[in-house]
């Protein structure tokens, strides 16, 4: 029995069905659930809170069965995308709301609210009403309100989606601090891949109301279990045929190019390679990488902090992620030829020929 156990949960809202066969978290885990819009992530969270009644299955938290408890007895807090502060209360009253239910000692409440507000950097707006605050301040207050009651489980429903880039980054840092200092167990729903990297230790990928893959962060990113997961997480995806085993490595033929991987497989397989694991070099040299190809630059796509280089290797195209500095240094230009290096450990067999993950 883990800290949070969800088994055989099924929620039927008529037009929408969510099924979660099992989900287990240890105390202090930070689970990021990622999936496209409409995959049922929010409904799942609100079921854990007790606002939708599952038609079957159980939820238990810290040894207690929550399944039929009313929401107010569950000790589960939530942070919503658009803050959901009570508009008729000041920020201070909002943050104190949960505490006021637990204790009547005004001294204590006042001290705790001010402590947490200082930590959140919103002590200067405590007397203002939510309507007058910026998006970042609102979301900080909303987080403060949720964690001040020291919930057994903290849920976050796309907490950064409504914020601009800078506020998003500063709030992510804040949440990371809270995670480290309070050891809160968190389930965080998002459609932003960055949240995975910054915050999670576990990742679940959800689609059409089901959890498709769940596991430790590195595991899910590097070993996606299906086409959908690999594709959704932005990996290069190749189809090939296993040709045999050499020195513990599997050789996979992809349109006459041989990829070597430490994974095992047979027959037709799908390979996934993350862009950041594909290296580009100017000259051939000895390296530990087991996959070395010649690739021609087809396309260069610049984004704010990274450059995606599409490389044609025979009949296939791989996308590699490099820094702008590397582009200048190596003189990467469309049409030029480079060495492409991929470690065998970074080539994953997803193992399904069927594209419908």
């Amino acid at each position: 029995m883990s800290f949070l156990d969800i088994d055989n949960l099924e929620i039927d809202l008529g037009e929408f069905v969510v099924r979660v066969d099992e989900l287990h978290l240890s105390r202090g885990d930070y689970l990021v659930i990622i999936g496209p819009t409409g995959s049922g992530k929010s409904i799942f969270l609100e079921t854990i809170m007790g606002f939708f009644e599952p038609i079957s299955g159980t939820i238990s938290l810290d040894g207690a069965d929550l399944t039929t408890l009313p929401p107010e007895e569950r000790d589960v807090s939530i942070v919503y995308q658009d803050h959901c502060l009570f508009p008729h209360m000041t920020v201070e009253e909002n943050i104190a709301y949960g505490l006021r239910k637990q204790t009547e000692m005004k001294e204590n409440i006042h001290r705790q609210v001010h402590e947490i507000a200082a930590m959140m950097g919103i002590d200067h707006v405590l007397n203002r009403y939510p309507g007058t605050l910026s998006g970042g301040e609102l979301q900080r207050a909303s987080i403060a309100r949720a964690i001040i009651v020291n919930p057994r489980l903290l849920l976050m429903d796309e907490p950064f989606s409504a914020l601009d880039q800078r506020t998003k980054i500063s709030l992510r840092k804040l949440i990371a601090d809270i995670r480290d200092n309070f050891e809160t167990t968190v389930i965080h729903v998002t459609h932003d891949l960055d949240d995975i990297w910054w915050l999670s230790n576990k990742v679940a990928v959800m689609n059409h109301g089901k959890i498709i893959q769940m596991g430790k962060k590195e595991e899910v990113i590097n070993k996606p279990s299906s086409y959908f997961v690999a594709d959704f997480l932005g990996a290069n995806i190749l189809e090939g045929t296993v040709e045999g085993q050499v020195n513990g490595l599997t050789s996979v033929n992809v349109n006459s190019n041989i990829f070597r991987t430490v994974d095992c497989g047979e027959g037709s397989v799908i390979l996934s390679i993350r862009p950041e694991n594909i290296m580009i070099a100017a000259d051939p040299f000895m390296a530990s990488a087991q996959n070395i190809f010649k690739g021609t630059v087809e396309d260069i796509i610049e984004t704010s902090r990274i450059v995606y280089v599409n490389l044609r290797i025979g009949d296939i195209v791989l996308t590699s992620a490099v820094t702008p500095g590397a582009v200048t240094e190596l003189g990467i230009r469309t049409g030029e030829e480079f060495q492409v290096l991929i470690k065998a450990t970074n080539v994953c067999i997803i193992g399904e020929k069927n594209k419908n993950g």
Binding site: P71, E72, C84, H88, K101, Q102
Partner: protein, 248 residues
């Protein structure tokens, strides 16, 4: 800069507003200020005003309390028969006042309930209680509807947050729902009160138009007019107008 189409629309708007305005004014021009003042202080008029205000206030309080609870139950997740309740509550809105009046008259005059009430010494038909009863059934459906749509406009996630922080359903209703619907509840109260004050057809039928007994302002207006007592009727009209203005 303004298109012909929009100009036409504005023209219509202004014309009708002007018409309403002139019509309102014309009521004040028919009698001399002195005679209006005299009518105001007559015993009949004072009785009507008192009766109107008293019954309307009582009805408004009862209607608001009932409407808030009914509207809350409708705004929450479904229970069996919810859709029936919603439909049945919508029907009387389409019913003319006078239809509600005759239904109540027959229900209160011809059913076992009536004999039971009679046995207890309670008389509804043709009394002040009849006025309240008529006002209640005329205004309740509207009021429920306003409260319902007010509650529906509140982000349900605010309720979720309140409950997740340890508050029960009733505490959440009191702490979150009521304060956040303040404007809607205020509007509902005003509309209910003004409907009660103006309620004519149903009151006329259930409470009867008895002079100096169940003559609320609208009824006194009608009675005076049919007796050819135009000045008193106009005075009632002016009183109604003033009360309506104050209510808004």
């Amino acid at each position: 800069r303004v298109s012909i189409f929009r100009g036409t629309c504005r023209f219509f708007a202004v014309i009708f507003v002007a018409a309403f305005f002139i019509i309102c004014i014309s009521l004040w021009t028919v009698s001399s200020p002195q005679s209006i003042l005299n009518s105001f202080t007559s015993a009949d008029m004072i009785h009507s005003v008192k009766l109107s205000l008293l019954t309307s206030t009582i009805t408004t309080v009862i209607v608001m309390l009932s409407a808030l609870l009914i509207a809350y139950s409708l705004s929450e997740d479904s229970f069996r028969g919810k859709s029936i309740v919603k439909t049945v509550l919508d029907i009387p809105i389409a019913f003319p006042e006078i239809l509600i009046g005759i239904m109540l008259l027959i229900f209160l005059g011809n059913t076992p309930l009536n004999y039971m009430m009679d046995g207890l010494g309670i008389q509804i038909v043709f009394t002040d209680l009849g006025v309240i009863c008529a006002q209640f059934f005329v205004s309740l459906p509207y009021t429920v509807r306003i409260c319902y749509s007010t509650f529906c406009n509140i982000d349900r996630r605010l309720k979720f947050v309140s409950r997740s922080l340890g508050y029960t359903e009733f505490e959440t209703f009191r702490n979150i729902m009521i304060p956040l619907s303040r404007d809607g509840i205020l509007a509902a109260t005003i509309i209910t009160f003004s409907r009660c004050i103006g309620c004519f057809g149903a009151v006329l039928i259930v409470a009867g138009g008895t002079y100096q007994k169940t003559d609320t302002l609208p009824i006194s207006l009608y009675l005076n007019l049919s007796y050819g007592n135009v000045e008193m009727a106009v005075a009632s009209g002016i009183f109604l107008m003033i009360i309506s203005f104050i209510t808004i």
